[in-house]
């Protein structure tokens, strides 16, 4: 715990905030996007926005694994979960994500055997303990969680598990970022980069952001002090007229990532030609499916998955939230029709989603500003 506490130290936080204030140019507002949902969560949880000067604004990005899952994939998952005798496993966050008719939690209450797991290895253990039943793991996440799915599948293969499959929804972070950077109405001045993803893929992968799009990025850890320091580094880049990839999270992130993780990912996964993203539409080469060598573990191959594509609900503005175009509270249904207990969009479900973070933690923002 000492390790964690150290990075939450309030005095250091205040000192960093003072440095940011001193370095920021009040006449030149800086709009920064934190890419990763983990950052969004920390920013609200520690109300870091309160510590920033008016000229530094944070915008929330697309890096929340649950938020980007489209309704069609949820419906497919529910259809699978309803298969007789099948055990459907997924992370807890997924249970409340709305499909077009219902959530996995609803399906569970109606009798589907849906079980929450904390890691893909838990799902594999369930398969081992239930040799006469099919067990499906619904895999989600960016490059951060993909290696553990890959390692689990490698182990399943080594053990010759015949009743374990994976419905793979792993996505990659670069394609949606490129899509974002390509959009004509882009008004971002820099990025707080995804620390956990970079522990796997390295910082090199993000060099295109300054090189091709002229925006700086600082790879950041997840403690409040990490985030403040990264913001300070971005402010300094502006001050010095620099534009580059910097690494704040050096205690964990190497430039080239984790070669062993990348190797097992390359063995188990291959890029899908297309993948549908919640609110962002279909993005080419943006998601991972199972490779030829692992086809037998692919739930979409073994079972009859409807493979439906369902349009996002009309009222839902998750896409605009994920792109940072609107703030959560600007969505038409925020907090009224769409709440954490009855969510319309995905961003309201995951604790890393911007809408949930704002609803759960941020509703004080306005009274505070009025003071």
């Amino acid at each position: 715990m000492r390790y964690v506490d150290e990075f939450r130290d309030a005095q250091l936080g205040q000192a960093l905030a003072a440095e940011i204030l001193a370095a920021a140019d009040p006449g030149r507002p800086l709009k920064l996007m934190e890419i990763c949902g983990g950052h969004t969560h920390s920013i609200y949880k520690y109300s870091l926005g309160d510590l920033l000067p008016a000229s530094v604004e944070l915008v929330h990005g697309p890096g929340c694994p649950v938020c980007v899952i489209p309704m069609g994939r949820v419906d497919d998952g529910i259809a699978l979960a309803r298969t007789d005798g099948l055990i459907f496993t997924c992370f807890g966050d997924m249970l409340r994500v709305p499909g077009s008719e219902q959530t996995l939690l609803d399906a569970k209450a109606q009798g589907a055997d849906v079980r929450m797991v904390y890691s893909p290895l838990d799902a594999l253990a369930i398969a081992r303990n239930n040799p006469d039943r099919e067990v499906v793991f619904f895999a989600i996440g960016f490059e951060t969680t993909a290696p553990s799915t890959a390692l689990t599948l490698r182990r399943a293969k080594a053990e010759g598990m015949a009743n374990f499959t994976c419905m793979c929804n792993h996505v990659t972070i670069v394609p949606p970022l490129r899509a974002l950077l390509e959009s004509p109405d882009l008004r971002l001045d820099g990025f707080v980069g995804p620390g956990h993803v970079c522990t796997i893929v390295g910082t090199r992968l993000f060099e295109f952001i300054p090189a091709d799009y002229g925006r700086p990025i600082v790879i950041s850890g997840f403690e409040p002090l990490d985030i403040l320091q990264s913001i300070l580094m971005l402010v300094r880049q502006r001050q010095d007229g620099r534009c580059e990839v910097e690494n704040q999270y050096t205690r964990v992130v190497p430039r080239d990532g984790n070669p062993r993780a990348l190797e097992v990912m390359a063995e188990v996964f291959e890029l899908r030609p297309h993948f549908e993203w919640r609110g962002l539409g279909s993005i080419p080469h943006s998601a991972l499916g199972l490779s030829e060598a692992y086809r037998e573990f692919d739930a979409e191959q073994r079972f009859d998955v409807p493979g439906v594509s369902v349009a996002d609900p009309k009222a839902c503005q998750c896409g605009e939230v994920l792109k940072g175009v609107i703030k959560p509270w600007e969505c038409r249904v925020f907090g009224t029709a769409c709440t954490p207990e009855h969510a319309i969009g995905t961003c309201m479900v995951s604790p890393e989603g911007a809408c949930a973070a704002y609803y759960n933690y941020g509703r004080l923002a306005a009274p505070k500003q009025a003071v």
């Binding site: 715990m1 000492r2 964690v4 939450r8 130290d9 309030a10 936080g13 205040q14 507002p29 709009k31 609200y44 949880k45 520690y46 109300s47 870091l48 926005g49 309160d50 510590l51 920033l52 000067p53 008016a54 000229s55 530094v56 604004e57 944070l58 807890g92 249970l95 409340r96 939690l105 609803d106 569970k108 209450a109 109606q110 904390y118 838990d122 409040p224 703030k327 509270w329 600007e330 925020f334 907090g335 009224t336 954490p340 207990e341 604790p351 609803y359 759960n360 933690y361 941020g362 509703r363 004080l364 923002a365 306005a366 009274p367 505070k368 500003q369 009025a370």
Partner: protein, 367 residues
């Protein structure tokens, strides 16, 4: 978040006002099926109680409609409190306690935080076919021992057995009756702006201990449940603060955060908690960090929060700290007026944020 506030602040504020109005309305129960979230003590439980149970079972203004931890009844001039609770914890035994001990302490504590000393309990056992009688024996012994420690008599009981698979080992229901202590006049309505919020000890130990006892995580930490009778703590508070003690709750399911939300809502006040003043054992904080759970939402079985008038707060705190097990009691926050029904946290960084009710159930069957 900050830059365009002059432009959007007004709009944002209007939006937030709409949300608070919507939240203040009585909950309507619209769910089609019961899910685990309805048992978690958070938002869904509240909706079930306020939207279905109370309208059907409680007269307006009745003891039930007040949604306390127990209901007050008048019997021939004696003021009594009555309550009931059921226990479905998994696993049955965990470091620091077991289902039998919980079943006694849970009901004794519901009475205690209503200002009532438990007089008598009833115990119902629901047993699963095939249960090892050694397990039953040891849980009955645990019930007896906890009752003795709490100074309460078991006066009636019941036993049912259900087929294998229809229960998970054993479930226990206890009901209790207690005498309301004349030193206190406790009610959520008594909470007023200015009150201080006291917490009787470090939080989240019970929930974390049970969670780790399930061996779902490769995590080795020696964390023990905090289950214990809260009467000694209540006795000390009543003695030190008397009528300045306005309200108490034991922070079970949904943790301290849920209890504060319930009371803020019931009393129509706001509560601000200073995160840095909330005692959490380092091992518990570390485990919660790994599990991705905020300790404020984790169940306790031997911790209470008390609302005390400011003038009596220091005295009440000192009295509380002199009780065995409450040495780390702390003043964690205070009551304000605006916005009604909202609980806020002052983070260590000097920011303020909302601490909302629990949604969903990260830890089912914790008690």
């Amino acid at each position: 978040m900050s830059a365009p506030e002059s432009l959007t602040g007004g709009r944002e504020q209007r939006m937030l006002a709409i949300i608070e109005t919507a939240r203040a309305k009585p909950a309507r129960f619209r769910d089609e099926r019961i899910t685990l979230a309805h048992g978690a003590g958070g938002k869904a439980t509240q909706t079930l109680i306020e939207g279905l149970l109370v309208p059907a079972l409680g007269r307006p203004g009745s003891a039930l409609a007040q949604l306390g931890d127990s209901g007050a009844v008048l019997a021939g001039g004696a003021r009594l409190a009555m309550t009931t609770d059921s226990f479905v914890v998994k696993p049955l035994r965990f470091p620091g306690g077991s289902i039998g001990e919980l079943a006694v302490n849970g009901t004794v504590n519901d009475l205690a935080v209503s200002g009532a000393r438990a007089l008598a309990l009833t115990v119902s056992l629901i047993l699963e076919e095939g249960l090892d009688t050694e397990v039953l024996r040891s849980e009955v012994a645990a019930i007896a021992a906890a009752a003795q420690t709490a100074g309460v008599e078991i006066v009636a009981g019941d036993t049912k057995v259900v087929e294998r698979g229809a229960a998970d080992g054993m479930y226990i229901c206890t009901s209790g009756i207690g005498a309301i202590d004349p030193r206190g006049t406790l009610s959520s309505d008594a909470i007023v702006a200015g009150d201080r919020v006291l917490l009787s000890g470090p939080i989240a130990e019970h929930g974390t201990a049970v969670m780790l006892a399930r061996n779902l995580f490769e995590l080795d930490a020696s964390i023990e449940s905090d289950t214990c009778s809260l009467w000694p703590a209540v006795d000390a508070l009543l003695g030190a603060a008397g009528p300045a003690l306005h309200c108490m709750r034991d922070a079970t399911r949904g943790g301290v955060a849920s209890v504060l939300n319930e009371l803020a809502r019931a009393a129509g006040v706001s509560v601000t908690v200073r995160a840095a003043d909330v005692p959490v054992a380092p091992s518990v904080a570390a485990a919660a960090e790994l599990l991705g759970i905020d300790p404020m939402y984790v169940a306790n079985e031997g911790r209470l929060v008390a609302f005390v008038a400011p003038a009596a707060a220091e005295q009440a705190l000192a009295a509380l700290r002199s009780v065995a097990g409450c040495e780390q009691a702390a003043l964690i926050g205070s009551v304000g007026q605006e916005p009604p029904g909202m609980v806020a946290v002052e983070t260590g960084f000097g920011g303020r944020r909302v601490m909302d009710q629990l949604v969903g159930d990260p830890l089912p069957r914790i008690c």
